[in-house]
């Protein structure tokens, strides 16, 4: 290990490893510090992603694909189920293996990794971030870097130390809990199931994502206003008692999903934020794998360019590039979310009944949204923007 690097990345999730890979590919020196003992574990994720979302970065490989998805099933509060064939395939991943493969690809590009390295402070030089302090195997250490990329997840504190306002309002944080359960016998392996309504997950949704061999990721997220009255865990327990009392629970994980538009500022002198730390999650779906990788890849590229051109201020370009690629869309997704999350159970039922009249072969996600939006016409403009741009 050197004493100084061009770039230090904090966090080895998809956003951090892609930042590292894209920077290393441009020939700068990169080290990734991961606080946990393993890259990719523990998994805190529903693991569903679109095929196109990952293939921008890594070839599909059966070893990290638990199931191939080509249908969505939406279940309304009155149990009306509507099946929507997907125009584009999706996957339920094995994140533990997927993240590992991403890290290997970054390593092949030249990035170094250090696990069990807990970053607990930043170094500054004239007000500019110039490195990190961290604990590793019981010793306090520090490393200097021209640029620090904070990919330290939903709990990001690295950005805060640099003066960026990263904490999010408790109402915008989806408190999520998920089990991986076996003995889930009534699901199709090519279908992701989404339950809506007050009983399942008010101001959020409840998911059942198949993982093969009659197992599934089963979980939900609820906004803080709901969690204040009833925890995500309590909703999950109710669902399992009702639907799958015989299931074996193999894993239980908790997590926070920051369902907001991207932070206003994701760059400060010497530091860039990516992935959940930058709040780059799609605020409507809560999905953050693909968007985090996109954020990471842009940041890594911009950081390497800034170093190679000796232009420290060039990293500001990252904000604009992110905004143009996804940030603007996320603003619209967030407005749609705020509209939909306030729907009553009756409204969800009405939408399901309306869509169920459309023949299956003519259904699409876009159509479901359009139907949803007849119930909330002010959102139509936002939806038009998503589908047109």
């Amino acid at each position: 290990m050197q004493n100084e690097y061009d770039i230090i990345v904090v966090g080895a999730g998809p956003a951090g490893t892609m930042a590292a890979r894209f920077a290393a590919e441009m020939g700068v020196s990169v080290l990734v510090l991961e606080k946990d003992r393993d890259v990719g574990y523990p998994v805190r994720c529903g693991e569903a992603v679109s095929k196109a979302g990952i293939e921008e970065f890594i070839d599909s490989d059966p070893k990290f694909i638990a199931s191939v998805i080509n249908k969505f099933s939406f279940i309304a509060p009155d149990d009306t189920e509507i099946i929507i064939p997907l125009e584009e395939e999706g996957y339920v991943l094995e994140r533990r293996i997927f993240d590992y493969e991403l890290a290997k690809s970054a390593s092949e590009a030249g990035a170094g990794f250090l696990t069990r390295a807990y970053v607990n402070g930043l170094l500054f030089d004239n007000g500019r971030v110039s490195g990190v302090k961290f604990e590793h195997q019981g010793e306090q250490k520090s490393l200097t870097a021209k640029i620090v990329i904070a990919a330290d997840g939903v709990e990001s504190r690295v950005g805060r130390w640099a003066g960026l306002k990263t904490h999010i309002d408790f109402r915008d944080m989806e408190s999520a809990v998920q089990i991986t359960a076996a003995g889930i016998n009534d699901i199709n392996n090519d279908t992701c199931y989404f339950y809506f309504g007050k009983e399942y997950a008010p101001e959020g949704y409840f998911w059942v994502f198949p993982k093969g061999n009659h197992s599934a990721n089963i979980g939900l997220g609820v906004g803080g206003n709901i969690g204040k009255k009833k925890s995500a865990l309590s909703f999950l327990n109710d669902f399992m008692r009702k639907k799958y009392p015989q299931a074996s629970v193999l894993t239980t994980i908790a997590g926070g999903v920051p369902c907001t538009p991207t932070l206003n500022k994701i760059v400060a002198p010497g530091i860039m934020l990516v992935g959940d730390a930058a709040r780059q999650v799609n605020p409507l779906s809560g999905g953050g794998i693909a968007s985090g990788m996109i954020g990471g890849s842009i940041a890594g590229t911009v950081a390497a360019e800034s170093i190679k051109q000796h232009k420290p201020d060039y990293i500001l370009e990252y904000e604009k590039k992110w905004h143009d690629r996804l940030g603007k869309r996320h603003l619209i997704f967030n407005r749609i979310k705020e509209g939909i999350y306030n729907f009553s159970d009756e409204k969800f039922n009405d939408i399901a009944h309306a869509v169920s009249k459309v023949p299956v072969e003519n259904r699409s996600i876009g159509k479901v949204f359009k139907t949803a939006l007849f119930n909330k016409p002010s959102l139509l403009v936002d939806v038009a923007k998503v589908f047109l741009f």
Binding site: G153, E155, I168, V177, S234
Partner: protein, 67 residues
């Protein structure tokens, strides 16, 4: 005072992301509240997905560090 029930914690970081005072510290499987910074606003209690945080009117007597 806010109390963390260490045996129930999954170390997910949801509370850390919400804490307006940056008063919660999380390592791999170790979490603690920095009492000097905590204002007892309880937002962490409301956001915890698995009911690990509690508001304790009498003050937390136990060691808050979970190992």
């Amino acid at each position: 005072m806010i109390e963390i029930l260490p045996d129930k914690c999954d170390f997910c970081g949801c509370c850390v992301g919400i804490c307006p005072e940056d008063a919660i510290e999380l390592k791999e499987a170790e979490i603690k509240i920095i009492e000097q910074l905590c204002t007892n606003c309880s937002k962490c209690v409301w956001s915890c997905p698995i009911e690990v945080l509690k508001f304790n009117r009498n003050g937390a007597k136990n060691n808050l560090n979970a190992k």
